[in-house]
């Protein structure tokens, strides 16, 4: 080994971010289960203001999306950008700052939600001091990420990096514009926009936070890890190019489908509906690309629980991105809007796609990072079935609840009178809410199992040191240091 010039990938930070991500998924999912229980036993907040439904619902969504989701995306972005650029992270200290500052924001931000500091805008509830902190950390994330790409030693910028890049750039734009406000006190501000205009700006943000974070960001994960896990190059490079740009262009238009039949202009709603239908094509293009990539490695599906998770996540991704455009059609949205159908749609994406692809990636990545086999493959296989059963039950129960709510609310008898009171319909939902609670508990049990499994895998292990492999002459871009003697890090080229 040529000790002095040895350059290694910064993977310790990847491990740390995965640990934080696991911490947040446990906390925020426990809150989700608790919320589900409040639908059945509304008294279980015990008269404590900080346990009240209205305050902890945003804790669930923010904890999951920004705690679990973003930590996982940062971890996998840092891991894959080094591999696809053949160079260690740019400004590793800044990367560590992002890692810890982000966790601090989620922790304090979560507490501030319990204290009742909220802008009320969905997925942007955190108040202005946090918004500023988020913007700063996000820019640093961008500097590390794009700095690494600029330093890369291999000429093409790989597909996964476009998606992670889209995540960083578009979320920055949305976050800043949507959160513009005049501060009053440290925990209170007033939006720069009012009423209908505020609604349009908020759902431009809200839908695209879903689009570029929960969809695009996780597609970045898919584009890097799926080829790795299945040992195959991505099926069609051309399809990934087309789908990336079509996705980036068309997602932005679809936000007002959250405002169908509301007091915003008709043309805005119609445009959003059409663009939501268009969106089906680039969304499915990525799914097809993913499925075709694994299709050459089906045998592995029998033995590798990590790959099972990822393939199942693609199926749910396909489901959610098919259902979404359908719900964006005005005549369907009339029924689905404001009901538990939306909640079913959300969680088919959230549990089936976001959680499952992340779980699959963690099962693959953690053993690699610490250089030890997964503690228990059996446990991981059991987790797979729990996750699948939990997701199915959650989604089915909420579909049933949502469709009934939607139709019953709208139903009118032969005299033009409402057929059912709101209270009757509410009371009829209780068994669906019971099923949803059971579904949540099953899914949560699987998640605990995974956390234990990964914890036992990591325990007492050091992060494996990996050196960037040399780059073939024809792809070389920035000068590499002289090739190290051992290439333990060499993997299947992306």
């Amino acid at each position: 080994m040529s000790q002095n010039t040895k350059e290694i990938y910064h993977d310790h930070i990847v491990i740390r971010l995965i640990q934080f991500s696991l911490f947040w998924v446990i906390v925020a999912m426990a809150v989700g289960v608790y919320l589900a229980a409040e639908f059945i036993w509304p008294e279980i907040d015990f008269g404590q203001f900080w346990l009240s439904f209205g305050r902890i619902r945003p804790l669930h969504t923010n904890g999951i999306i920004f705690g679990f989701g973003v930590s996982a995306l940062m971890a996998t972005a840092f891991y894959s950008v080094q591999r696809t650029s053949h160079v260690p992270l740019f400004m590793p200290r800044l990367a560590w700052f992002c890692c810890y500052a982000w966790q601090l924001i989620i922790l304090l931000g979560g507490l501030s939600l319990l204290a009742g500091w909220t802008s009320s805008k969905e997925y942007a509830e955190l108040e202005w001091p946090f918004d500023i902190a988020i913007a700063i950390v996000w820019v640093c994330f961008g500097v590390v990420f794009f700095g690494t790409i600029a330093n890369r030693r291999i000429r093409p910028i790989y597909v996964s990096n476009w998606f992670y890049g889209g995540l960083i750039i578009v979320i920055a734009m949305l976050h800043i514009v949507n959160n513009l406000a005049i501060p009053v006190t440290i925990g209170k501000s007033y939006s720069l926009y009012a009423g209908a205009q505020d609604a349009i700006v908020q759902w431009w943000y809200g839908h695209n936070a879903v689009g570029f974070l929960l969809t695009g960001g996780f597609l970045g994960m898919m584009y890097y890890f799926l080829p790795k896990q299945s040992g195959q190059p991505i099926w069609s490079y051309r399809l990934s190019v087309v789908s990336f740009w079509a996705f980036t262009y068309s997602y932005i238009w679809a936000g007002p489908h959250h405002l169908h039949f509301s007091a915003i202009p008709e043309w805005v709603q119609s445009l959003a509906m059409v663009m939501s239908l268009v969106l089906l094509a680039p969304s499915w293009a990525s799914m097809i690309n993913g499925i075709m990539t694994v299709s050459k490695a089906w045998e592995r599906l029998r033995t590798d629980p990590a790959l099972k998770f990822v393939v199942m996540s693609l199926a749910f991704y396909g489901l959610a991105t098919f259902e979404g455009p359908m719900m964006a059609i005005r005549s369907v949205n009339v029924v689905s809007h404001f009901t538990d159908w939306t909640i079913g749609h959300v969680h088919s994406g959230a549990l089936g796609w976001n959680a499952m692809i992340t779980y699959g990636t963690f099962y693959y990545l953690v053993p690699k990072l610490v250089g030890r086999e997964l503690y228990s493959t059996k446990m991981a296989n059991l987790h797979f079935w729990l996750a699948l059963a939990g997701t199915m039950l959650y989604v089915l129960s909420m579909w049933a609840a949502g469709v009934s709510q939607g139709l019953l609310w709208l139903s009118i008898d032969e005299y033009g009178q409402l057929s059912f009171s709101f209270r009757e319909i509410m009371a009829a939902m209780s068994s669906y809410y019971g099923l949803r609670l059971i579904a949540g508990l099953i899914f949560f049990a699987g998640t605990i199992l995974m956390t234990w499994n990964l914890f036992m895998t990591m325990r007492g292990q050091k992060t494996v040191e990996v050196t960037p492999p040399p780059v073939a002459e024809k792809y070389r871009i920035n000068p590499s240091p002289k090739p190290a003697a051992d290439h333990t890090g060499t993997e299947v080229p992306a």
Binding site: E38, I40, P42, D45, G47, F49, F53, G54, P58, G116, S120, F146, I149, R155, P156, I157, W162, G166, V170, M173, V184, T185, S189, Y190, S191, L192, A194, G195, A196, Q197, D198, I200, V201, Q202, W204, V241, V242, T248, Y249, Y251, I252, W253, L259, F261, S262, A263, I264, P265, V268, A272, V334, F338, T339, L410, I412, L418, F422, R423, M426, A427
Partner: protein
């Protein structure tokens, strides 16, 4: 083929890639969101819509703090059943002084846009203290702490009104000066109920027609 060539450039140049993503993702917003911000039909208050007074504004901010909007919408759609259930459908101008908007995305409870005047103050108080005392099967949480805190402790009302004035809400200097006094002796629950009772009162006769439904 040309598209792929163009893409070769983008995918080999970090700066171009960043710019490309920013540009492509900004188009939709520029065409769809920015014009809406200049659309006066969205920002002009209806004839009966007025700014929230000190007590109502305090109540509204309590509504936000407690997250009532996660279960209640304030947006009645122009559908026969919905108008039958909740009242005349919502018009953009009625929300001209709503910062932030509180339309919501989920109806675990009923729409509240026209709840003002539907029940007595006492009904609301009993309901908010324990919803199941009024509606046995209710799954709405209870809010006992609202009965213990003074409305004047729920934020700095003077600063709030000054901030809103800067954003164009027509508060007079007198109103702002007397704001704190208006909250004297009121509990948080009183402010919240005052807010609930004024919801949907931007309504006027012309809204009875079902045009646009």
């Amino acid at each position: 083929m040309n598209g792929i060539k163009l893409h070769k450039k983008l995918e080999e140049n970090t700066g171009l890639l960043i710019f490309g993503i920013l540009f492509v993702s900004a188009i939709g917003g520029l065409v769809q969101v920015i014009p809406s911000l200049y659309d006066e039909s969205l920002s002009t208050p209806t004839a009966n819509t007025r700014v929230y007074d000190a007590v109502e504004l305090t109540g509204r901010d309590i509504y936000i703090r407690e997250g009532c909007h996660v279960c209640h919408s304030q947006q009645i759609r122009p559908l026969v059943a919905e108008v039958e259930r909740y009242g005349p459908y919502s018009r953009a101008g009625e929300f001209a002084y709503d910062r932030p908007f509180l339309w919501g995305s989920k109806r675990t409870g009923p729409d509240l846009h026209r709840v003002g005047g539907k029940y007595t103050d006492i009904w609301h108080e009993v309901h908010l203290l324990n919803p199941r005392a009024v509606v046995p099967e209710s799954i709405m949480p209870a809010y006992p702490w609202l009965f213990e805190r003074n409305a004047s402790q729920a934020g700095n009302i003077k600063k709030k009104m000054q901030a809103l004035k800067r954003l164009g809400h027509p508060y007079t200097d007198d109103e702002i000066a007397n704001a704190a006094a208006a909250l004297d002796g009121l509990l948080e629950i009183d402010a919240l109920v005052r807010y609930l009772q004024m919801l949907g009162t931007g309504y006027d006769e012309s809204m009875n027609d079902m045009e646009g439904m």
